[in-house]
Each structure stands twice: as C-alpha cells, then as structure tokens.
C-alpha cells in the first residue's frame, strides 16, 4: 500500500523543499504541539537561532564547510565525541553534537517536533532501524549518497533497512541483534556442556538453577514492560515458533496460532514454570541488564551493548557468555533474533546538505567503523571488520563479541517496515502487557490488538 503513495509523496516534498528555505524560521514560530502542554516547542526557536547564522553562508555554493549539527541518542555520546575529533581533522566542516534522551521513543518525538515545523536546526540524526518507512514516507529524511561505495561491503540487512524504492535514505552505522546471555559457571555446575537451544531446555535448566544454586534468584529475565522491548520479545517467540506477522496479502496479523502460542509461553514462564519473576511486566532493557550484572540471574535476553558493559569488573565479568536465541522444539532453523541498529539520516530541511552528506559518508568508512567496534563495542556494519585479518593491523584487538554476534546476525528477522510501526508496536506491547499481568488471556489480548490493527493500520 505504501509503495503506491511514494512518487506523489516525493513530488510534494520536492515542491516543499523549493520554497522551504526561507520559511524554516517562520515555521518555528508556529503554535504548540498536540500534547496539551503548550510550552514544549519553545526550545525549537532557540536552537534555530543558534545554527541559523552559521549555515546561511553555505546557501550559495555547494562547497563543504560550516557546521554539521549531529543529533544522537545520549548513550552514543562517547562515540560522537570520537567522530567529531576524526571528522573535524579531515574535513573543512565542523561537527557539532547534541544528545537526546537515551530512550529511542523520546528521540523520535524530538525529531517529529522538528520535522513538523520544517526546522533545519539539526542536519544529521541517528535513525533507529524501524523508522525509515515513516521518515521517508513523510518526506522528513532525504536520500544519502554513497560515492565511495562504502555500502558495497556492508552487511545486507542494515542496508536493506534504509533502502526504499531503490534509493538509500540512511548510512548504516552499527547493527544490533538479540542474544541469549547465560551464566557459564552455573551451567557447568549443573552439568551441561551447551547452553539451551530450545524453550523447554531453557525452562528446565532455569528451574534446576533456582533449586540447586543458592545464589540464583531469577531463572530467566526478559523485557516485559509496556514498551518497545516487549514487542521485540514477543516477536522473538513468534518467529521461534515458526510464525510470521504478515499474511499473504501483506496485512499485519498478530492473533495467529503462533502469536498466541508465543504470548502464552511468556505468561507461562512467569506463572506456570516460575522461572521469570513477577516484576518482569514492569521491566525495561537496561534495568534487566543491571539485574543480570548483579549476579543472581541464570538467563537474560538482551542486546550486544550489555556484553561490553559486563567486561568492566562486574560480578559476572568472568562467568557469563552469550549465544543464539533458543527456539521452539522442531524449529531449529528459525531466524528469531530481532534486527536492531542505527543509521545516519539527513534532515530534509537541512540548510547545509553538502556537509551533511560528507559526514554521513564518513560514518560508513572503515576508520569510523573501527572506532565504533574496537573502542565502543558496537557491532559494525562493514563486513571486513568481522574477519580476524582486519584487526592484525589495527590498534585494537578484535572485540570478543564479534564472532558470536556474527553468528547471531545470521539468524535475524526484521520488524515490519511500515510508516505506522510505532502505532503497531504500541498496540502490541500494551495488549501483551495486559496478558503478562493476567488482565486478559493471551488470545483475548491479541484479538483486541488485531481489531485495532485492522481498523487503524491494515485499512489505511
């Protein structure tokens, strides 16, 4: 459905850009947002004022100079500083960095406020892997060129995620995939050689650990709070049971047999098998990372960043490991790790497009990728960095997480690419969360979610 709209959309956008330059400032004085809190939009005009003076001079030429204002999620701060150092040394333009809250949903809301006012207060931003359909469809992100062919040797899935209608709208920076963290010391103490590969094995080993190991308080922790983490968690299980959330006509379907099975399994982990604590329905990603890091937890599903943090002299530093996501019995080849990751996008309303393009290309270079991986523990998107030989000439040792996560990356699936992804996810995690707190049965919850998805998304 979205594909048909595109050309019209883009023509309208181009018309918009043609006259947008002079009106960007006027746009910022526009009225309050729709959240009833009035004052929120004030900051917009401030930041516009800051960057306006420096970018105006670039309007005439196509030369690369001036400031590139780069907006990043706050946890990316150290990497952004390193980027600024390298980029400023190599380019005539200078990189200014600005952080947004750590939660990706808050970051998206920041962008949307800027977009609604057609603000050029930032030039380049970090884009979560699920946003391109929305940002491009609405005409907020412009295409990113790749004259040096940096994308040619990138992993295919991150590049596909930013490709719409044959054009690329982002420069992939790093990728992400869910891993299954476990206590290797406890696994050995219980007499197992291998981490669990199936859901049943997970339950059995978690129960044994809780019974036999005094320090073990939690069997298996995962993201159960009413947020994006729960949508991803549920998808992990749906895919693990061999399900899919697109039917033959391309509609989004959540109340399939596997969908209900997946949610029932989650509920059972808490109330039937007693391996997941009852606090999980209000838990979040980083809270779980901290819980696992304290010791006391056998299994945890999380993202690669936890691997890097566990290296820093924590109670689990020498006694944890990570492996591929377990799957349902009889479905060993399921690709049930959810693809994450971030790319750089260029604000359609930027007044410094040439420098923004240059910075986007920099993020795809080997030197930028090497910093992200070697220094900051991210999963690089350039395939070269997964080879042992690459790191022989590097100042860094090959990061320990690359080998296992390159295997996990082979088993990923992507969340549905739709401009209404945020709404879809909100419906899914809200209803799944109701089932996890036993307000509804899994079937009721997913039927209710389906009814809303049908009327709000599939019909649109």
């Amino acid at each position: 459905m979205a594909a048909n709209d595109k050309p019209i959309e883009r023509r309208r956008i181009l018309q918009g850009i043609a006259v947008a330059g002079g009106t960007a400032l006027a746009g910022c004085s526009g009225g309050g947002g729709g959240d009833g809190s009035g004052g929120d939009t004030d900051t917009q005009s401030d930041s516009e004022g800051d960057s306006g003076g420096s970018t105006e001079m670039d309007d005439s030429g196509g030369g690369v100079s001036g400031e590139v204002n780069f907006v990043h999620i706050s946890s990316f701060e150290p990497s952004a500083q390193d980027f600024a150092g390298q980029f400023n040394a190599a380019s005539d333009a200078t990189l200014e960095t600005q952080g947004t809250p750590a939660e990706s949903s808050s970051t998206r809301e920041y962008y949307i406020n800027q977009f609604a006012a057609q603000s050029g207060s930032f030039d380049v931003g970090m884009m979560d892997v699920v946003w391109p359909a929305e940002f491009v469809g609405a005409g907020w992100a412009t295409s990113v060129s790749d004259p040096d062919g940096n994308m040619d040797t990138m992993l295919s899935t991150p590049v596909e995620a930013v490709t719409l209608d044959g054009s690329t709208y982002g420069m992939p920076m790093f990728t992400d995939a869910n891993g299954f963290y476990y206590r290797s010391d406890w696994l050995e103490a219980l007499g197992y050689d291998e981490p669990p590969a199936t859901y049943t094995e997970v339950v059995n080993i978690a129960q044994e650990a809780k019974e036999q190991i005094d320090a073990c308080e939690n069997g298996y922790i995962w993201q159960g709070g009413a947020n994006e983490g729960l949508t991803i968690m549920w998808l992990n299980w749906v895919w693990g049971f061999g399900g899919s959330i697109r039917d033959g006509d391309g509609n989004l379907v959540v109340n399939s047999e596997e969908g209900i099975q997946a949610l029932q399994h989650a509920v059972d982990l808490i109330y039937e098998h007693d391996v997941t604590p009852e606090s999980i329905p209000s838990s979040g990603t980083d809270g779980n990372r901290q819980t696992f890091q304290q010791g006391g937890t056998m299994f945890m599903r999380n993202w690669p960043y936890a691997y890097g943090l566990f290296q820093d002299d924590t109670p689990v530093t020498d006694s944890f490991d990570v492996t591929t996501m377990p799957k349902a019995e009889g479905n060993p080849d399921a690709n049930n790790s959810c693809l994450g990751g971030w790319s750089l996008f260029i604000n359609n309303f930027t007044e410094n497009a040439a420098a923004a393009q240059e910075f986007a290309q920099y993020a795809g270079t080997l030197e930028a990728q090497e910093i992200l991986s070697g220094e900051h523990g991210r999963l690089p998107v350039r395939q070269e960095l997964y080879e042992d030989s690459y790191w022989e000439d590097s100042d860094y040792d090959k990061p320990g997480n690359l080998d296992i996560f390159s295997e996990i990356l082979q088993q990923t699936s992507a969340r549905p690419a739709t401009a209404q992804y945020s709404q879809f996810s909100n419906l899914v995690y809200t209803e799944c969360n109701r089932a996890l707190t036993q307000t509804k049965s899994p079937e009721e919850a997913l039927n209710d979610a389906q009814a809303e998805i049908d009327s709000e998304i599939n019909n649109g």
Binding site: D5, D35, A226, E278, P281, G296, R434, T439
Partner: protein
Amino acid sequence: MADSIANVQDTIARPGEEGIRARLRRYRELRLTEEELATVLLTPVLLFLLGLSFYPILDTVWASLHTGYVIELPGQQRAFVGLENYRQILLPIGETRFWNAFGVSMFYTFVSVPAELVFGLGLALLLQKEFTYKYVAQAAILFPWALPTVINAKVWAWMLHPDYGVISDILVRLGLLAEPYAFLSKPDIALYTMTGITIWKTTSFMALILLAGLSSIPDQLYEAARIDGASRWRQFRDITLPLLKPTLLVALIFRTLPAFQAFGLPFGLTGGGPGEATATLVLYAQQAAYNNPGPTNGGFATGSAAATLITLIALVIALVYVTTLYEPEVR
C-alpha cells in the same frame, strides 16, 4: 501618581474633547487618567496571555478539526474534517482508550486531592503552632514538592523495585510480606501506588497554601470564642473552616487541575503500564500524538482533539469549584 490622576480629573472635565497636543503633553508628563493607566498596566500581561496561552489553545482546537500535518507550511497541507477526530476518540462511549485514560485520571484526581486536603490541613494546623526549629520543619516538609516530578518518579520506581527496592526489603524484614512484591506489575496496585506517591509529594504544597490562609485569620476571633466557652472543635468548625474557604478554593483548584493533567509521574514511574492501568489522560494524548504523526495519519490532530477534551473537562471542574465554594462576601 495618585495626586496627578486627581489633578487631571479636576482640570479635564471631558477627556474626549481634549486636543491632541494637550494629550501628548499630558502623556509626556506621565499624567494618565485611571482608564489609561489601567490600559498601560494591563497590556503587557494581556499580550503575554494572548501569545503564550490563548493562541496555542485556539491553534490546538483548530488543529483538532483537521487531519494531516499539525502546522500548515509549504508542502504540508491538512484537510478540514470537522469533529471526526473527536468521534474516533470518544465512540463507542466507554470503550476507547480515551475512556480508560479518563477513568484513570478521575480516580487519580479524586482520590488524591481529598487525601491531600485532609493531610495538608492537618500539617498546616501543626505548623501553625510555635515550636523550636519550626522553619526547619517547614522547609523539610516542602522537600517532596520541590523534587522534580520525573526524578521523583524514577526514585520511587527504584524504591519499589522488587529485587533492589528498599520498600519490599523493609516489608519483608518486618515480616509483613513473605517475599518481595512487584507493586508496579499489578494493574490495580500500580494505580494505588501511583496515587499514594502523588499524595506524598503534594500534601506539603497543600499544607503551605492552607498555612497562609490560617495565618490570615485574626487571633481575636479565637480569643472571643474561647471567652464564650466554645470547644476547640466548635472553633475549628465555625471560625477556621469558614474563613479558610477562599484559601481552600485556591488550593483545590491548584491541586485538582495539575492532578487531572498528570503526565510526569505515570511517564516516569510506569509508562502507563501494566497494560494501560496507569495511563492518564495527558499520557494518552501524548501517545496518540506521537504514535502516528505522519501526514496521512493525523496523530497530531488526534492528540490535539484529546488535549482539547482535557482542557474542557478541566474547565468544568474549575467551574464546579468556583460556583460551589466562591463567596464574594468572605474576603
């Protein structure tokens, strides 16, 4: 200034027929009639209100009657749809997410505000007494209110954490709980907990306002009552409460409206969960706006419609208070 106004009124019988020259001279000497002085003094605040309050409100109402972009700019149009956004939010009555949020906000507001009133009045009566370090106590009581709401929410979220939270730990050590309790994972308990936190946080604010009201009641009235042999309860019922009524009105409006517009606490504490058990109206409006803000989906318009409804409900509540509690003769 008062002299000059009197002077002007003496010398100029009919200001309307005054010559332009004379008028300019009078302005230069800053001799203004009462009407002119009022205009000069009120204009800045009126402009302020018009620009920063009424314009955004009207713009939000206007946006709520459209679909598409929230602001019309070149290349981004919107279409007038009348009350369609309201229909989608409100119908079927009682079954949409708006009504769930409405129920949550009503519970949150009309449980917390009366509780704050009772506790706040108690605190204010205690603080009225003279004792050593009274000002230290007053400052200490204000502390929860001074804490930024989102930080307060995060602090409580950690204190309520079943594994690391101090609250479960204390309750278990006291033997009141057999094992740690996940307060924020149970729909009903999470709502009660959130309401309890706001009572804790804003009782002190209520106490402060009521304390100001209490100290404006003349001591002679109590003295006379004591001489007439009135009991402490009679003094409270027939002197304190009636004279406190205007202050109570202010305090109730000041607490009810923010409680009805609660956002920071549910946002930071639970994110509206479990399910939507703690999703207040403003949290709902925010989610509706940002879930689906693209040009073809009109999330901002839905959010604007929700915001308008919240404003209307808040106005109704304020009107009810004013008509039932306002008594012009009691000043």
